[in-house]
């Protein structure tokens, strides 16, 4: 008897979506009433999107989520003794604006938030590309600033230490969902800004 090679059947998109929706409905069965109502009202749009959702959030490399060119890093670090006070002082000195990060060149945004009665630091950034390359950028471009900031966290091995990446990974929590409005790197955005200025000057001249 001739062996038949099983041809993987292309799953019916519609039924896959229906199945997912059914599972979600089941899960939301014990949700608060307003959650259930919201789910029903959002379903038509959800179905449409689910079909188009070919580009999901991806991985930033070692840890973290990535969408297109932009990745996220979210870490919660316990403060060392006196660390919260020192970091407060540093951020106050800089008036909350840590402009030194311009030198890194791949940071979109970055926040420092004090949690749980100043016992922990939440550090969250959006950056371009791969996790490893990003950490390397910090280490090569603003190593002193990194030590100045993170020596206030418990157990910081120092940006030049071979253990620094493991230490960061240990405190990082990958986002379950990650959204970015514009798929542009920091460099591309700056280029567009320059181009926009040039076009305006050009139009002024011929006007």
């Amino acid at each position: 008897m001739a062996s038949t090679i099983p041809i993987p059947s292309k799953p019916n998109q519609d039924s896959v979506v229906e199945q997912k929706i059914r599972r979600l409905r089941e899960l939301y069965a014990d949700a608060p009433e307003l959650g259930k109502v919201a789910l029903e009202q959002g379903l038509p749009d959800l179905k449409k999107r689910e079909l188009a959702a070919a580009t999901g959030a991806k991985n930033a490399g070692r840890i973290g989520a990535r969408q297109g060119k932009v990745s996220e890093l979210t870490g919660i670090f316990p403060f060392a003794k006196g660390g919260a006070k020192r970091l407060h002082g540093l951020l106050q000195l800089l008036e909350g604006n840590f402009q030194g990060a311009d030198a890194v060149g791949t940071v979109h945004d970055m926040r420092f938030v004090f949690l749980d009665n100043d016992t922990k630091l939440l550090f969250a950034t959006a950056y371009d590309g791969e996790w490893d390359a990003y950490i390397d950028d910090f280490a090569t471009k603003i190593p002193n600033a990194m030590d100045l900031l993170f020596c206030n966290a418990e157990g910081w091995p120092g940006i030049r230490s071979p253990k620094v990446k493991d230490w960061i990974v240990e405190h990082q929590v990958a986002a379950e969902a990650w959204y970015v409005a514009n798929d542009l790197t920091v460099a591309e955005t700056r280029r567009l800004k320059r181009m926009g200025q040039a076009v305006e000057e050009f139009l002024d001249q011929i006007g």
Binding site: E50, L91, D147, V173, A177, W178, L184
Partner: protein, 213 residues
């Protein structure tokens, strides 16, 4: 947990050199008990810090009711307790969308980035976004543009009153924590402005292609 909403109040104008020196000295004193590598790093950057403190630059202000703002760009950072079963439902929802929320979030129009992070063994959720302008307007954008998606997500939060409830904003404020440090690479660009620049960039490229032919 601390839900301090300390506003980062910033005075206008540049700092005088003598004043900057004083600030640096006070700061150095604060670092006297820092770990050795921290003290060393401080000495390495002290000149740079001093010039940064002396030079006029963009100030972090308040985003309105709560949150920090630099130029056009504001931050919202919240930590909310999850309701029983909430983590399970929310994970399933986010997984179904492959962690990609573009379909709904694009509609808001003032949202740059947004993350959902489960912390403390799924008992709390960290929600952090970066957006254009004022806090109240931003929340209103969510309410008018994607109320149902918001409720599908936020019904996982303990005590969430519903986005259409008059108590919704107070709930958000109660759980939001203002960032003490906030950096943005391009603080002058709104989502709309970036979209416009993208169109210009494309038009210029096409134009140059034609000229080159």
């Amino acid at each position: 947990m601390a839900t301090t909403t300390t506003q980062t109040k910033m005075q206008k104008g540049s700092t005088q050199p003598a004043d900057a020196q004083q600030k640096i000295e006070a700061f150095r004193a604060l670092f006297a008990d820092a770990p050795e590598l921290g003290k060393k790093a401080l000495e390495n950057v002290i000149a740079e810090l001093k010039s940064q403190v002396s030079e006029p630059r963009a100030k972090v202000e308040s985003a309105g009711r709560v949150g920090a703002r630099l130029g056009q760009r504001s931050e919202l950072t919240m930590i909310v307790p999850l309701a029983p079963g909430g983590a399970k439902r929310l994970r399933a929802f986010l997984k179904m969308l492959d962690g990609n929320l573009s379909g709904g979030a694009d509609k808001v129009g003032t949202l740059h980035d947004m993350r959902f992070v489960f912390i403390d063994n799924d008992t709390r959720m960290l929600f952090a976004t970066s957006f254009d302008g004022d806090w109240d307007v931003y929340i209103d954008d969510f309410v008018t543009k994607i109320p149902d998606f918001l409720d599908v997500i936020d019904s996982a939060w303990e005590g969430w009153p519903g986005i259409r409830s008059p108590q919704a904003k107070d709930y958000l404020v109660k759980h939001q924590i203002t960032a003490e440090g906030w950096y943005v690479a391009n603080p002058d660009l709104t989502v709309a402005e970036i979209t416009r620049l993208k169109r210009i960039g494309k038009a210029v490229d096409e134009f140059l292609d034609k000229v080159g032919d």
